[in-house]
Amino acid sequence: MTKEFDFDVIVLGAGGAGCAAAITAARNGTSVALVSKEGIGMGNTRMSGGEMSSSGVVDGDSAEVLKQDMIRGGEYLNNGHLVDIIARNASSAIRFVQGLGHYFRRDEEGRFSGKAASRLGGHSFPRSFGGLAASIAHALRNAVANTKSISVFEDTLVTTLFREGDEIRGALGVDLKTSECVVLKAKATVLATGGCGWLYYPQTTNNRTATGEGYAIAFEAGVQLVDMEMVQFFPFAMNHPSHLAGTLLDEPILAGPKGKLINELGEVIADHDINKMTRAQVTALMAKEISAGRATEWGGLKLDLSGNLDVPEMLEFKKVRDEVNFFEKVRIAYGEKAFNWKEPWDVSPSSHYMMGGVKIDPHGHSSMKNLYAIGEAAGGAMGANRLGSTSIADIFVTGIAAGKEMSTWIKAREKGKISNSLISREVEKIEKLFGQKGPQRPIKLKRELQKLMGENVGIVRDGERLSSALSHIDRMEEEVENALFVSSIRRYNTEFLDAVELKNMLTCARMIATCALERKESRGAHLRLDYPDKDDAHWLKNIIIQNKEGKMETSFSEKDISEI
């Protein structure tokens, strides 16, 4: 049975960006549906380090300095207008999050000062405020629960956007608990679906829900995406034991001024100031060693922090982290000595963040009418590398901005119709999957794709491996079309969920590999062994990717240097 609902706004995804947009739009008098594949606030916002960048609190710092840091960190690929908005509004976004009840760490006098802020790699000043990320998620969830005009659709997987002509008029969801279809009609649709780190499982810091739904359904609907080759690998993550592999450890700041990275041969790769480097710089350093075959038995490098044991600020850093048992994983995997920095332990880069995404204007509007994208689902702001703590700023700044902007026009506008034939065609696609009796279990193909991405479209790339990945993806897409096995269980059928996610992941994988093959240089997170140098003369431009009548096509947008 299919249920139909009418709203002013539907927000797809309920992490920081989605909740902020929903709350803001609802407070401005619109009716909102907040749709989430999981529970509210259960996505990657909850799993982040909880650090949020401000527009600056110490003397000499300002929104302008933050902007320059982000653009330098992003290796000049950023969309300057989007960076500008984030940099200018980061502090007010912090106040928004505080207003929902989250408590950011303060200094010992209880003040919100520079003393309470961290200076993360690539930032010129201490300006990032920490706290428990789970508590951000709880504050969001509570605020959503208490905002009367938000209707919550939890455990609801969105499978497609309804496009009529050149505008988006809503989305089709599936209530996973009953497998009933839900038609959500809206004047504005917001993609807040986060990233696609799960493409690299197990070597990802992400929640298992980060399967790139937003990118895939936007692509299917013909929306433009940008910078899809730019996948950030977080340098310091676990790689052992198997169930902890990929999970996040900490920013480059963890290495402190005296931390060392050591390869399998015992050679010291870097021995000071790793903490001042950006994530991309540290990852590139590590990737070079790993791809040259000098990785440890677990596939990573040794991080030796013993030098920091006489650095007071690092001991303070450890104390703060230990209060929330942040490095418990290290103790489990490598024992007490490693936990106390007396022995080196193993770290590996892990897929963390998608800099690319749906191409948007400064209001969050996509290339398609009535479709917005915010947070990690949107692309362009972070360029070729994102600085630590800017994502939490980004999700709230863009969420609030989109929520505000759409409420200025939404009441006055008529709602477009979605034809019944379009609805029934899409519903039929869903129904067809249940009880399908092909030979391939979706989870197996998912694992196959993840392995392929890790090996061929991962931290280091080259033309040959990227091309071979693309033909592998071709083969897999055929299998997905015809050969899946999905049981007919209607109560939360994970084979069905896997099948839909797999399809979306394949679309994302193809976009990433295509753009990565296109960009013939190394910049930020994009490292090509066959084009190891940065090539400003030819590649100071963004790759745009779009579905044109069923074909994946790329084009370029030249950089407007004046904006940066």
Binding site: N142, N146, H243
Partner: protein, 539 residues
């Protein structure tokens, strides 16, 4: 200890495969949950979540289980592992593990529970953070940081006997959310009236702390909040009396035969019921005049010196338990003395009268430390007294915080078991041909030391412990006597009582006096402290 762990530790029998049992259930299709066996490979440091993933990927992808973050942040992978709630991501896999969904939450399918209803109490009570501005200076109290550690895994709800009966009250999870708002310096204090009615439903069994992966220890915080409520509300004559078992005990036992026969009269209980609101349906325990003292001139064969903590119930209502405890200790060569510093303060904590409780804690701690300095171990047979000294004194009153002091306070069963492991317990005892049950009290479980008495009882030849029960009896100290809480007490206790009746046994052993009373009155089965049985076997 399972054979699997033993093999691993010795390195003699490396197991390549583990067999686990997983609860499978599709509501609306299946009649009920069934346990199905799966064989999974054993990998070094493998977690339960890795095993579930293996089953899903390699054996059966209709298995439903939840997980998200892979390590302790999202709380979604909480399930019951061998009967205890825990996170599948942080629990190492062992052979023969049984995996089931959390209790008290609707099962979607197999191991996954529906977490969506949790928004409801927040909506219902309009509980929202509502400070109109962020103050320039704001330092949060330690309770706030402690509460915000909660990752919402809901293990506490699975354990909460009151939530099982009164879903609407929201359980400890909701309490944590309320308390978080209450302790937030930017917005707090206005939730006190909600908290008051919330805490009226809490039976202080402390089970919410037992499996909390982030040690939020809500029961300790709720004791503090009870103290705040108490300051506003004052105290009734009944509650004042009930929180002073030592005083009441002295008075009643000095005229014990008169008192005992008086309160057996229905008319008297009726009057007490009306005047004091002590429910007439719950019989009073009998009071005894005798004082507990150890025997003298016993040969000391170990270096152990024990100061046996005589709880109020031991002292005035059940001197046999104290006598038996001292007998067993002495008979095994321990120099034992009776330590009777007065009430431990548990009833005052329960009432929220933290000032009175603090005075008790200070007095008891002072005496207790003196004894420890003289080389004594402190041993308590009452699980509540033990839990209060071990958990509440340090947290609420800053007493007995030192590890070297804490490590010298023991539960009686635990102490005897440690003696047994050291080869100091005489196990050549008399055969007792009997089938008994054992009820594990909430305040024993909250000490996380297992059920040492069950292990001890199994040393007695002929004695069969055929059933162990671990549900709350609902008495909750004095709560069951209170007229306004009688219904809740009965509701909570019913499932235990039904289980016990179903086993058709004629004796249930339990180290908690409240449990014993409840079992005798409601299940109509005799119930005594397990030390009684051990004493009997040693004659």
């Amino acid at each position: 200890m399972t054979h699997g762990t033993w093999g691993k530790m010795k390195g003699t029998r490396q197991m390549d495969e583990y067999t686990i049992r997983i609860s499978r259930f599709n509501p609306g299709v299946d009649d009920g949950p069934t346990l199905k066996e799966y064989t999974v490979p054993h990998v070094d440091q493998g977690s339960v979540i890795a095993a579930l993933n293996y089953v899903y990927e390699e054996i059966d992808s209709t298995l439903l289980f939840s997980y998200g973050c892979r390590y302790k942040l999202c709380g979604k992978c909480a399930i019951k592992i061998n009967g205890q709630p825990g996170l599948a991501c942080e629990t190492n896999l062992e052979d023969r593990m049984t995996l089931e969904p959390l209790d008290n939450l609707p099962v979607i399918r197999d191991l996954a529970v529906d977490r969506s209803g949790l928004l409801e109490p927040l909506r219902k009570y309009d509980l929202v953070y509502s400070a109109d501005h962020e103050p320039e200076v704001a330092l949060q109290p330690p309770e706030f940081s402690q509460l915000t550690r909660c990752n919402e895994c809901l293990s506490c709800l699975s354990n909460c006997p009151a939530y099982k009966e009164e879903i609407d009250y929201g359980g400890p999870f909701f309490g944590v959310k309320l308390a978080e708002l209450y302790y937030d310096v930017r917005d707090g204090k206005k939730q006190l009236s909600h908290l008051e009615s919330f805490l009226d439903q809490c039976i202080q069994c402390r089970q919410c702390d037992v499996n909390c992966p982030w040690d939020v220890n809500f029961s300790e915080i709720s004791s503090k909040i009870k103290g705040e409520v108490f300051k506003h509300k004052g105290v009734s004559v009944r509650d004042w009396l009930m929180s002073r078992p030592h005083l009441v005990g002295h008075l009643a036992s000095s005229v014990s035969s008169f008192f005992n026969s008086l309160v057996k009269k229905k008319s008297v209980r009726k009057i007490i019921d009306v005047l004091l609101r002590i429910d007439e349906r719950v019989p009073f325990p009998e009071y005894h005049p005798s004082k507990v003292s150890p025997r003298r001139g016993i040969e000391r064969t170990t270096k152990r010196k024990v100061a046996y903590f005589v709880g109020c119930f031991d002292r005035f209502n059940d001197p046999d338990t104290a006598k038996n405890s001292l007998f067993v200790l002495e008979a095994n060569g321990v120099e034992a003395t009776a330590f009777d510093p007065g009430c431990c303060g548990a009833p005052s904590i329960g009432l929220g009268d933290l000032e009175s409780a603090r005075n008790r804690a200070i007095a008891v701690s002072r005496e207790l430390k003196k004894l420890i300095n003289q080389g004594c171990d402190i041993v308590a047979s009452c699980t509540t007294c033990g839990a209060v000294m071990k958990c509440e004194y340090p947290f609420l009153f800053n007493q007995l915080k030192e590890e070297e002091v804490q490590s010298r306070i023991f539960n009686l069963g635990d102490y005897l078991w440690q003696m047994h492991e050291a080869g100091q317990l005489n196990t050549r005892c008399k055969e007792i041909k009997r089938r008994v049950g054992y009820q594990s009290p909430c305040h024993l479980r909250s000490q996380k030391i297992g059920t040492p008495f069950v292990d001890l009882l199994r040393l007695i030849p002929g004695l069969e412990v055929v059933a162990t029960f671990d549900k709350c009896c609902g008495m909750a100290g004095t709560m069951g006597f209170k007229k306004e809480r009688y219904e809740l007490s009965q509701k909570v206790g019913n499932s235990l009582i039904d289980e016990i009746r179903g086993e058709k046994l004629d004796l249930i052993l339990s180290d908690c006096a409240s449990c014993q009373m409840k079992i005798e009155n409601d299940a109509k089965v005799d119930s005594v402290h397990p030390i009684t049985m051990i004493r009997e076997a040693m004659q």
